[in-house]
Amino acid sequence: MKYVDEFRDRKIARHLAAVIAAEVVPQRLYSIMEFCGGHTHAIFRYGVQDMMPDNVRFVHGPGCPVCVLPVSRLAQAMQLAERFGVILCSYGDMMRVPAAKKRSLLSAKAAGADVRMVYSTRDALQIARDNPDKQVVFFAIGFETTTPPSAVAIKQAAAEGLKNFTVFCNHVLTPAAIQHIMQSPELREPEAVSIDGFLGPSHVSAIIGSRPYEYFADRFQKPVIITGFEPLDVMQAVLMLVRQINTGRHEVENEYFRVVTRDGNRKAQALVDEVFELRRMFEWRGLGDVPGSALKIRDEYKDFDAERRFALVPVNIRDVRGCECPAILRGVKKPTDCKLFGTICTPDNPQGSCMVSSEGSCAAYWSYGRYRRQKQAVEA
């Protein structure tokens, strides 16, 4: 496959692994947080950790859009489907996430609610056109990558005068979340894993550019490498991080320059800005309330805002007892530190959000990483 195989080349991987091994300082630990679920997935799927020296460790961050959506918002989406009888259009990953009493959108669907899996906002718009007598709500989740398509859908619906289409907006912002993690009190505790550097988002950065990370890198004195989702991208970025850490630098560098520029996609940014505005506060699963970390629909487009069209009841739901998703999402615990991991919580019976999406760190650990632990145990 052109433009893909080049970034999965085994020979180059071996070479990069040798260079990284030669450049790491043996006495120190390199803790690298990959913010995005896409990176977590690539690391496990291709076995990137196997090719790293023992003192380079990945800490899996909160960048899985499904994982960070609080249960209360999911419960409200379920209200839309069940109480208000709308056609709820959702991305596939969201369908299996358990809300209260282990019920998910999938179980709501089985019980008769009209929940449909869509691949894009265009599908949702088409469903609205095809069902003029039904209210159709698009359950919008995700970081900056999925926000522009939601903006386009709203503008398109406005242009067509669609009266039965709204968006339940849960879009969140990456830089605010990274900042919040760095300010987490746990990270300041002596026994906490200190994070030495970040693998910066790839798709998100294609939209927002690399500039927004500059303030962060400077303030917290941590290097950030914007990198792609292919395994060689990840390895190259690790090498760049190791070099920065070794020389005490803390810059934003762009490994993914084939896609990301410093300013990002200005057209997409303008679209998002036209339709959405900053939410003062938004709850993240695992991070709690994070100021200025999410978007809401502007007044000009209020007719397309599901939160204004339907009288949604606020829901207060706690995570499953014992579930360590919050700590795992902040990178202060590993999936294997959770008592539920692999016992009652598996991809077939997920208790927390990190086990649901294949980008979630618990699911990735379960699907790809258990063998490694076993191997390490045997070797030890």
């Binding site: 496959m1 893909v4 999965r8 085994r10 991987a13 071996r14 692994a17 496990f44 799927r45 291709y46 076995g47 990137v48 950790q49 196997d50 090719m51 299996r96 999938l106 869509v118 691949y119 599908d123 395994p231 598996t346 991809p347 077939d348 294949s358 699911a363 379960w366 699907s367 790809y368 990483g369 258990r370 063998y371 490694r372 076993q374």
Partner: protein, 349 residues
């Protein structure tokens, strides 16, 4: 006087007609559907006996029986349809014991309003598949459900076969050191179905690999006498089948990603849709496990058969009390190959 004419004075409108509740009500309409559609196309001696059951002499040896319900959507897809699939699926389930499939039984659940022309197309395809495989449909059943309570047509087929003397094939016989072989490209069926699903707007030239594998199996058994395990990796793909075998046999399995045959276009489609080809369904593939010393011979035998031209040795069985299925990735690392969680594609067979 012609008996046929008095039995069914009105002819069925196969071109424009639809399935009606009367087609399942036990009256003349049902008899006509059975006679003029099912018996006409499946025609064979046992079916012509006209009884509610097929009566045949018991063949010697161990008998094998298997059943498979088919609910695929869409009903027609590149490389096949629900009719041919329902023949191949059950023949393969019988053949994976090493058996020679003998007879099939077919149960149809039809939805009121289903076009008779589509039904005829399916029955013709089914009859052709059964004739080509040499495994006749010898008895069956038809039911009609009200509109909205089915999805056009569901077909359940049951097969009976006989295992040749000396053959012992089972999912619990994989042993450390054994090699694992597959008879060709994986993932074709799942991607072919996906390409036809209406809400995906995804065009591809990939055809389903749907095929009856019993002749290939007979050919393999004739060339190597110590095949331990055979299984067709249908729903859940290679990953599910290998995990099942690992659990049944109490062993681990290690695959080599570079050795698994995968068409570039199937790989590209999976890449685009975020699917793992190891989880994608096949309908004309089998996995064979045999001792290492027999593997080259078995591979050559498979490659000499039309349905095994692209066969390959893809991994081996190892000792592992955790029963992990792992894979050496093309990139140079290793990973676990797990069962798929939840559903990847609804109603693929």
């Amino acid at each position: 006087m012609s008996t046929n004419k008095t039995k069914f004075p009105l002819s069925m409108n196969l071109r424009k007609g639809h399935v009606e509740m009367t087609h399942g009500a036990g009256g003349r309409a049902m008899a006509q559907l059975v006679d003029e559609l099912f018996i006409a196309h499946f025609d064979n001696e046992l079916l012509r006996q006209g009884n509610d059951q097929a009566v045949f002499a018991s063949p010697g040896g161990r008998l094998v029986m298997s059943t498979d319900g088919h609910v695929v959507s869409p009903l027609f897809f590149p490389g096949g349809d629900i009719g041919s699939l329902s023949v191949h699926g059950t023949i393969n389930d019988v053949a994976m014991s090493g058996a020679k499939p003998l007879y099939l039984c077919a149960g149809f659940i039809l939805e009121e309003g289903f076009a008779l022309s589509d039904l005829e197309r399916i029955v013709i395809s089914m009859a052709a598949a059964s004739r080509k495989a040499g495994v006749p449909v010898v008895t069956g059943d038809t039911k009609v459900v009200e509109r909205g309570k089915g999805d056009g047509v569901f077909i359940t087929t049951t097969g009976i076969g006989v295992v040749p003397g000396g053959v012992r094939i089972s999912g619990d016989r994989a042993r450390p050191g054994d090699k694992i072989l597959v008879n060709g490209f994986i993932g074709d069926h799942g991607v072919a179905i996906l390409s036809k699903r209406e809400n995906l707007g995804f065009e591809s030239q990939i055809s389903s690999d749907s095929a009856a594998l019993h002749d290939l199996v007979a050919h393999m058994l004739a060339s190597v006498d110590d095949i331990h395990t055979l299984r067709d990796p249908t729903r859940g793909g290679l990953a599910a089948t290998l995990n099942e075998i690992a659990w049944q046999s109490g062993v681990g399995i290690d695959l080599c990603e570079d050795d698994i045959p995968l068409r570039p276009d199937v790989r590209a489609a999976c890449e685009l849709l975020g699917l793992d080809p190891l989880h994608v369904a096949n309908e004309g593939k089998l996995l064979a496990i045999c001792p290492a010393q027999s593997a080259p011979h078995l591979l050559a035998a498979m490659q000499a058969h039309e349905l095994g031209k692209n066969a390959a040795i893809i991994g081996e069985v190892r000792q592992d009390e955790n029963r992990f299925v792992t894979m050496q990735t093309g990139f140079g690392g290793s990973r676990i190959v797990d069962w798929i969680a939840g559903e990847q594609l609804p109603r693929i067979c």
